[in-house]
Assembly symmetry: C2
């Protein structure tokens, strides 16, 4: 279940929990993350082989299987750790500023070859999707955990009504960027990001009509 | 330019303008549209061959090239005509009802094998995208022409402020459905559609911050 927080925690900690900073385990982890991202950029997810990652990182492939379980776990961990480092959760104390930073982070991700490699392979769920959704289902809970915090803090500060649904608002804010970039092929201008943020914030401040949490019908 | 209305009109009329209803030209057009959709469902866009469509429709391939120009023009015409027939623009006179009907239409499209075939092949724009974006760039202006009417009528009725941007609102409303279905793999429940429509309408009714029309930076 993508929404299971224990999943998320396990993934977020799969590297650091076993690593002393600067220690051998940590160095191996960094080398494998680097190799995973390099392989993703070059061959994408479906064609990615753990053997190639191991060779590139100079480690034994059994080390990778033991520590990250499988290809989906390895790639999801690389995504979560590297994206997390690239864009730590923002907390300016201002809801609109935090939301704009999140939308700029989404836009930045579209410039990243290893992330676009994952997106390129993402299609409607089907036996032919190369298992890419196994990865997405591990990635989203962790990404949502960071992003929903923007709205949760807004609710805590009283900038949003208590009944606002942070998960739903993440989808409402990020969705138009994915749609515009991937399907319309139109530029994600600062203006578009600002208008999207302002529409979502105005919409969120109104009376909420939620009858179930956004994640309740999660895959 | 996807937003060029003349494109749209040419595409929308490419069949009907040359056909007397019930006449031979019209029958040929229907046979070719049927064959195009059947081929799309089976092999997708990149692998679709005009020869196979012609064979399936029992027409000469030169007829197809003469009438629809190329593969992109043929597929875009099939999409626009068949989707248009499947879901004529709604006009209940009620903005919220019209928007909900539009979102239900988007959800229905995701059940259509020949439409999901197009979506499956859609990736970030690149030389490797099989020219799928040539088709999308022909399809969107026609789809937006129908969808933006929902909001344009709302503005005309005074249900939305005159400065509301119908194109932007189509992206804001449809984007979350594409994102949820394609990337999150979560069900597009009636509740989700209702919440999306209500958020967009609340957001649209507030002060608009647009500094440029949504299409102005179009690809």
């Amino acid at each position: 279940m993508p929404q299971d927080p224990s999943d998320e925690v396990k993934l977020l900690r799969s590297d650091s929990a076993t690593a002393r900073p600067g220690g051998r385990t940590a160095r191996t982890g960094q080398a494998v993350m680097d190799a995973t991202i390099a392989e993703l950029s070059e061959v994408g997810y479906a064609a990615l082989r753990i053997e190639s990652v191991a060779e590139r990182a100079g480690v034994n492939k059994t080390t990778i299987y033991r520590r990250w379980g499988d290809k989906a776990g390895l790639v999801a961990t690389a995504f979560i750790e590297r994206q997390g480092e690239a864009s730590p959760p923002v907390d300016t104390g201002d809801l609109r500023e935090d939301l704009l930073s999140f939308l700029r982070e989404v836009r930045r991700a579209f410039d990243s070859p290893w992330i676009t490699a994952l997106i390129r392979e993402t299609g409607p769920r089907s036996p032919g999707d190369g298992g890419i959704h196994e990865v997405l289902d591990k990635i989203w809970p962790a990404r949502f955990a960071l992003s929903r915090g923007i709205f949760a803090k807004g609710i805590a500060r009283g900038d949003l009504p208590p009944e606002a649904d942070p998960d739903f608002l993440v989808e409402a804010a990020a969705g138009p960027l994915y749609f515009r970039w991937l399907f319309l092929g139109r530029e994600l201008t600062d203006d578009f990001l600002t208008r999207t943020a302002d529409l979502v914030l105005r919409g969120a401040a109104g009376p909420q009509v939620a009858t179930e949490p956004s994640g309740a019908d999660g895959a």
